[in-house]
């Protein structure tokens, strides 16, 4: 046998392997290709020249980006899974399954029984690129991340589905002082969970498992998480010594069936292969001429505050600190609004130490001439920084930004701020924030996103951004989330787009994402007449230009666009005009020490992950809490219908009025069971069953059923059902009732009374995907509660057939069940009235948390109700109000009962000055793509604010808090008017 060469060209790396005739590896290499695929491959081959020169050899290419190269260079191509399987077959013949993580792909192959391969879907992180992105976030490289993870003490739950989600989980932990070691390990755990949940899809992962690919080879911490999670011993968890090049080895193994070649001809075919370079549909350039660019920059340089020399200025000054998600911004402002000192930089994963250092510098520069008269903080880390340094004011971001924008344009009616991690847009009407739009967790095409790409292509952000300015053919990259964008860029590179094209294209994508996805505007007038743009991302001229181009209107971008939050905080402090600041003095600052310790709160079942920050003289600041109990205060005792309903429903188990003689009847406590439990409970207790509901969800419920979830993009409430059913089975409940319900009750307010497809048919999915269902009597037949007469008949038939219950008995029970259900609904309405009266008697505002009945599940709403309650607001829900208004035609087909309730409630609150609506939207809810726009229309037409909170398995409340506080600030501003 000859010398054999395998080349694996992946999304981010090129791997080359040379095998001798005894299958020994003579040479191997693994390098990043930065989109220069052929050059990198040839370069690596040249390094292996001594093994290749002279002898005849065979070669094959494999890998996700390899096909194009193989075709152009006329080198045989082997499909990557086939290559991997061939290598595993040769070197680890006892393997039952392979898990391979690559740059952007994650794969699993099962060999035992029926062959099965799975790859991550299009919306999935959990890969090398994801880990790189997370490492960037922590300001470390992957190797350091790995080292950190080995010293972890605890694991935080981090959303594992998608990189963007994980980011929004990690950021707040970081900003609240969580340990990097713990976060690093949590990131790896997220990858493990994602792989298991996303790829096994119901198939058991056991036997001998081989782990392959770069990330698993390089990252010991990641391996450790896999070993622990899957409980593998050395015999069953195999990590080959050349796991990172295994597919390349496979390609080499497979190459022997192809024709021979020589070193020289291989190199020349690689180097001469020119991949056809056609960029399909480029977009118009940002600037046609340099003159155009010059005028553009001149215009924008006018919006600037005065610069005052800190070394000569004497008098009062105000300090603003914006502790953002990835960067910390600081402004020291003089009496006339001029800037004495400013700072803008990465918070390096520890904003407290950055601020401490900067504050020291500022105190030094101030000397005795300048007195700091007040200090405001804002941003994600607002509370932490305020507490650490005893600042005077903590402002919610929206308020800070509005204050700053007004300095540059008093008539401002629209502000858009694109920062590192979030995008905020708000309309201003009558001088107050009128509507707030924030990017959702799944569309964060923001600053750090361009930065990540710049880094991946080997540039710093400033250079990278400049490249796009005069590009003639920006590439169209679409306007979706980062994960999609990765593959769009990959595709563009494959099509021959230059770095310039990609730079300009990315800037345009960020803008399109903002305008069409976040703001949902169809034209410039939807935004406003006096638009101020800000945030660090707008300092990128390419982004600014494409924004103006896209909306066809000139906007104001202050030269301090990146500092606006801090500037606003400083202006706010000046407005407050305090006698004396409470800020740490120069001396106190010198002795300032900060430690952060993670703890799990055990005061209730939420088990919040708290971070306890301790500052020098024992001052403490606790973050990560939902309610006020860990702070030593009582939980808010204001009326909260979410808590009331949850408690009431939990009471509905046991034998009730019946004897329980017919044994246990299990109901999985999720989805529409939350709505219909009063009905089923009464029905089954009347039939002398002992009703058992599965315990209220927590994270463990999800994990318990995770492996049997076939679709990773279905909503979280549906995913939880797997765990609920499993719990009932594990509890030994033999009869479980969970009916299919295409139709809901008809409440007479909509065009029809459907359930959404997921609620309607999920029982059938459970039956098909959960192996243990076979052990029980799982009743998931179709019922239609909206037709009582027919239901009575049909249900009696079922009970007769399954349990031999006499029809008359069932009919009696059904009738009582209807009465019980109606009574429960009436009870909720009465309670709602009581709560409203209480609020009015005590001068509290009311928040209507509108969602689905199952959104009262604390694992689904993540305690948002308690959070709102802690802001001194009374919480009610849409189902207590939906009966009040008469039916009215809607602009959309109003055919789902739960959604109809939201429209009804929204219409009602438009007439109630003390009520505002907050809509909870589960990520992946297709129906809510329709309801959100309609609800917004109803509310805005009625002069109300629209606030949407997207929820998933994310359990961190940072972003939610900002929205709620912005809402409160806007409500207060309205009241003051």
């Amino acid at each position: 046998m000859k010398i054999r060469v395998g080349i694996d060209i992946g999304s981010t790396t090129v791997k080359v392997v040379v095998l001798d005739k005894n299958d020994n590896v003579l040479y191997q290499s693994y390098e990043r290709h930065f989109a220069k695929v052929r050059e990198k491959a040839a370069e690596q081959l040249k390094k292996a020249k001594r093994f290749l020169k002279g002898a005849p050899l065979t070669v094959a290419i494999t890998g996700s980006a390899g096909l194009g190269v193989a075709k152009a260079a006329d080198i045989p191509f082997v499909q990557e899974v086939y290559a991997t399987a061939a290598a595993v077959n040769k070197y680890v013949p006892q393997a039952d399954a392979v898990i391979e993580l690559g740059g952007e792909d994650a794969k699993i192959i099962f060999f035992r029984g029926s062959l099965e391969e799975r790859m991550n879907g299009s919306c999935a992180g959990g890969t090398g690129a994801f880990i790189d992105q997370m490492a960037t976030l922590l300001n470390v490289d992957a190797a350091e991340l790995d080292r950190l993870s080995m010293d972890h003490e605890k694991i935080y739950p981090i959303a594992s589905r998608c990189g963007v989600f994980a980011k929004s989980d990690i950021q707040p932990i970081l900003n609240q002082g969580g340990r990097k070691e713990d976060i690093a390990a949590s990131i790896f755990q997220a990858v493990v969970d994602q792989t298991i949940a996303g790829l096994t899809q119901g198939r058991d992962l056991d036997g001998t498992i081989v782990f392959l690919g770069g990330p698993l080879f390089f990252l010991k911490g990641l391996r450790q998480r896999f070993i622990e999670t899957l409980q593998l011993d050395e015999e069953h968890g195999i990590f080959p010594e050349n796991a990172q090049v295994f597919a390349a080895i496979g390609a080499a193994v497979c190459s022997d069936q192809y024709k021979e070649t020589t070193y020289d001809s291989l190199i020349s075919s690689l180097e001469n292969a020119v991949t056809a370079s056609v960029v399909s549909d480029p977009m118009p350039p940002l600037f046609e001429t340099e003159e155009e660019y010059r005028l553009f920059t001149e215009r924008h340089e006018k919006a600037t505050p005065a610069v005052v020399n800190i070394d000569t200025y004497t008098g009062k000054a105000w300090l603003g600190i914006d502790a953002g998600s990835t960067t910390t911004k600081i402004v020291l402002m003089a009496e006339n609004g001029g800037i004495l000192y400013s700072y803008y930089n990465s918070n390096k994963g520890n904003p407290v130490s950055v601020v401490k250092e900067q504050l020291g510098i500022i105190y030094d520069k101030c000397g005795d001439r300048i007195t700091i008269a007040g200090c405001g903080t804002t941003g994600y880390g607002e509370e932490l920084i305020k507490n650490a340094f005893r600042a005077d004011h903590g402002l919610v971001e929206t308020v800070a930004h509005l204050r700053a924008a007004r300095y540059f344009q008093p008539e401002v009616d629209f502000i858009i701020d694109i920062g590192g991690q979030d995008m905020k847009c708000f309309k201003i009407r009558n001088g107050a924030v009128d509507s707030i739009m924030l990017n959702e967790a799944c569309s964060s095409g923001c600053g750090s996103f361009i930065e990540t790409f710049a880094k991946a292509l080997g540039y710093d952000i400033a250079t990278f951004a400049k490249l796009g300015i005069f590009d003639k053919t920006p590439v169209n990259l679409g306007s979706r989330c980062t994960v999609f964008m990765n593959s769009s860029v990959k595709q563009a590179q494959k099509d021959g787009a230059s770095v310039e094209d990609i730079s300009a294209g990315l800037s345009i994508s960020v803008v399109k994402n903002a305008i069409y996805k976040v703001i949902r505007a169809a034209n410039a007038d939807d935004l406003g007449k006096h638009i101020v743009v800000q945030g660090g991302t707008f300092l990128n001229d390419a982004v600014l230009r494409s924004f103006e181009q896209e909306i066809g209107r000139e906007v104001i971008r202050p030269t301090i666009a990146g500092l606006m939050g801090a500037y606003g905080a400083a202006l706010y402090a000046q407005d407050a005009d305090m006698e004396k600041t409470t800020l740490l003095t120069k001396e106190e600052l010198k002795n300032f020490v900060h430690t952060a310790r993670p703890v799990t709160c055990n005061l209730c079942t939420n088990h919040c992950s708290l971070t306890v920050n301790t500052f020098d003289n024992g001052r403490r600041f606790i973050s990560g809490n939902r309610c006020s109990r860990p702070l030593g205060k009582d939980k808010s005792s204001l009326p909260n219908i979410y808590q009331y309903k949850l408690k009431r429903l939990q009471e509905m188990q046991g034998t009730g009025n019946g004897t329980g003689a017919r044994g246990k009847m299990g109901l999985p406590f999720g989805l529409n069971i939350y709505e219909n439990l009063p009905f089923w409970y009464r029905l089954f207790t009347e039939l002398n069953f002992d009703v058992v509901i599965s315990p209220v969800s927590d994270r463990k419920t999800y994990l318990l059923g995770q492996r049997t979830i076939p679709s990773d993009t279905v909503c979280y409430p549906a995913k939880l059902m797997h765990g609920h059913l499993q719990q009932l089975i594990d509890m030994g409940v033999e009869n479980v009732f969970y009916p299919c319900m295409a139709y809901n009750f008809d409440e007479g307010k909509g065009d029809n009374n459907y359930n959404c497809p997921v609620v309607a048919y999920y029982p059938e999915l459970l039956a098909a995907n959960m192996p243990d269902v076979k052990k029980i009597n799982f009743m998931n037949f179709y019922v239609g509660l909206h037709q009582p007469k027919e239901f009575e008949k049909k249900f009696a038939q079922h009970m007769m057939e399954i349990f031999g219950i006499h029809k008359r008995e069932t009919v009696q029970a059904v009738r009582k069940a209807y009465t019980a259900y109606n009574a429960y609904k009436e009870e909720i309405r009465t309670k709602t009235r009581e709560y409203i009266e209480y609020a009015r008697a005590n001068g509290k505002n009311i928040i209507v948390m509108a969602g689905r009945p199952y959104h009262i599940d604390p694992e689904i709403n993540h305690g948002i109700d308690e959070l709102i309650s802690s802001f001194d607001l009374v919480v009610i829900s849409e189902d207590g109000l939906s009966h009040i208004m008469d039916k009215e035609p809607r602009k959309v087909l109003n055919q789902w009962t739960y959604q109809t309730r939201m429209y009804q409630a929204a219409r009602y609150i438009c007439s109630q000055p003390d009520m505002q609506l907050v809509q909870l939207v589960s990520f992946g809810c297709g129906i809510d793509a329709i309801t959100t726009d309609e609800l917004r229309d109803i509310l805005e037409a009625g002069g109300k604010l629209y606030t949407q909170l997207k929820i998933d398995d994310i359990s961190n409340l940072g972003a939610v808090k900002i929205r709620i506080r912005s809402l409160i600030a806007a409500m207060q501003a309205k009241e003051e008017k």
């Binding site: 899974v81 062959l115 964008m485 993009t713 179709y782 087909l893 992946g924």
Partner: protein, 426 residues
């Protein structure tokens, strides 16, 4: 110029007068079927056009006017219509849009409303939207689906299904490149001419015509039919529309496969049958059930007729009947699972497998709600019952790239041949 007339709910109507003056724009889904249907409509005095357009522009227009989390087909259909109206090709005051309305608990029933919202957003509220539906949802004085027109549409449906099926079984093997497509065009034109000629068409004539079509396709010179067969199932729009599925059929053909795409007839029967099932499950009038049954039988007769004709030709494989499909699906889902493609989708996968087509691409828009259940949700059980089955679920979305989708399809295709050598016994 036609006067703008509104009904009592404020909906702009398509009037008799408009029928004379206006051009009706129709989004594209199934080129063969839709082209015939368009020409039939023209025979009834409507000016119609089925739309094409630059995919990128369509997507961008869709993103602009439709909530981005709405399913991809809505985005494409509305994007296609909106970009056509705004293209300058048509007089904005003399154009109407036609869109199908299926009804049912899937959000797809909302397309027409989202289209109207989009028109409003674009300041084009004067453009009437015509609903094409079988449920009597929205009516327009200028557009009536008469019995006569309806029957012709049914013929177009049957002929369309037949032509597409024969072409799919012939094209990969044709010796003279392009011959199959020429045959498709030839028959489409010929059939339309006959519709236009006004000659009375009967079931018997349709059967004879189908026989002729089969005979013609059978004459095309082909090589041995030995390619890997790959089935395509899924949400109806992305399943059929090349715009929706990034030219999936073409891709598979280039990969050396023969595509097997179940026809539109089953979907039509499915939608009728659902009404019958509703009565069984939740009660309702027997008369409704009876009417549905009669309609269903009528459609099924034509389906059976088509199958019988195909079976006369040993070079072609006929599809299974609707009831066979239903029978298979009932082992997996209840008859009440009707939203979107409902149990039909699972049934199509099972039918393909029983026909020896183990390799299947299950297509859906990203986040498609019914497909969580009837598509992705049933693959596990199908795999358990038929270990030979090899199904890949592919999501389509404005941001999803072709390369990503193709990598996954290739992975599935890799499983069809040589991979088997690595399998180990249980």
């Amino acid at each position: 110029m036609a006067e703008l007339i509104y009904d009592e709910t404020g909906r702009l109507l398509f009037t008799e007068e408009m029928r004379k003056e206006y051009t009706i724009l129709i989004p594209q889904m199934l080129p063969v079927h839709f082209s015939m249907m368009r020409q039939i409509l023209e025979g009834y005095g409507y000016n119609c056009e089925t739309l094409g357009g630059n995919p990128r522009e369509i997507i961008d227009t869709g993103l602009k006017y439709v909530h981005n989390d709405t399913c991809y087909p809505a985005l494409l259909v509305i994007g296609q219509l909106m970009s056509a109206v705004q293209s300058g090709k048509y007089d904005k005051d003399k154009v109407a849009l036609l869109i199908t309305q299926t009804g049912g608990g899937c959000r797809a029933s909302n397309y027409i409303h989202l289209l109207r919202k989009a028109l409003k957003k674009a300041g084009l509220e004067q453009v009437p939207v015509i609903s094409l539906n079988l449920s009597g949802l929205e009516k327009n004085p200028g557009f009536k689906l008469t019995l006569n027109l309806g029957i012709k549409m049914l013929y177009a449906l049957v002929y369309g299904d037949l032509i597409v099926l024969l072409a799919n079984q012939t094209r990969p093997y044709e010796i003279n490149k392009g011959e199959t497509d020429r045959m498709v065009d030839y028959w489409m034109n010929k059939l339309v001419k006959e519709f236009e000629s006004g000659v009375k068409i009967s079931k018997k004539k349709v059967m004879a015509k189908m026989d002729e079509i089969c005979a013609d396709f059978a004459k095309i010179a082909v090589t041995e039919k030995n390619k890997t067969r790959v089935g395509i199932v899924g949400e109806i729009y992305v399943k059929y529309s090349p715009l929706g599925n990034n030219n999936l059929e073409e891709f598979l053909q280039n990969e050396g496969c023969e595509v097997v795409v179940p026809g539109l007839m089953d979907f039509m029967i499915f939608k009728i049958y659902n009404r019958e099932v509703d009565v069984d499950l939740y009660g309702g009038k027997w008369i409704k059930k009876t009417i549905c049954r009669i309609m269903k039988n009528y459609f099924e007769e034509y389906q059976q007729g088509m199958i019988d004709v195909i079976n006369k030709y040993s070079v072609f494989r006929a599809p299974g009947t609707f009831s066979h499909l239903e029978h298979k699906a009932m082992a997996y889902l209840g008859a009440g699972n009707k939203m979107g493609e409902g149990w039909l989708l699972t049934g199509e996968m099972l039918e393909l497998i029983s026909d020896g087509v183990n390799n299947i691409v299950c297509t859906q828009p990203f986040g498609c709600l019914p497909n969580h259940i009837v598509g992705k949700g049933m693959i596990r059980k199908i795999k358990d019952d038929y270990p030979e089955s090899n199904i890949v679920a592919i999501d389509y979305d404005p941001g999803a790239t072709k390369i990503n989708q193709e990598n996954r399809i290739k992975l599935m295709l890799a499983n069809t041949g040589k991979m088997k050598q690595f399998v180990k016994p249980e």
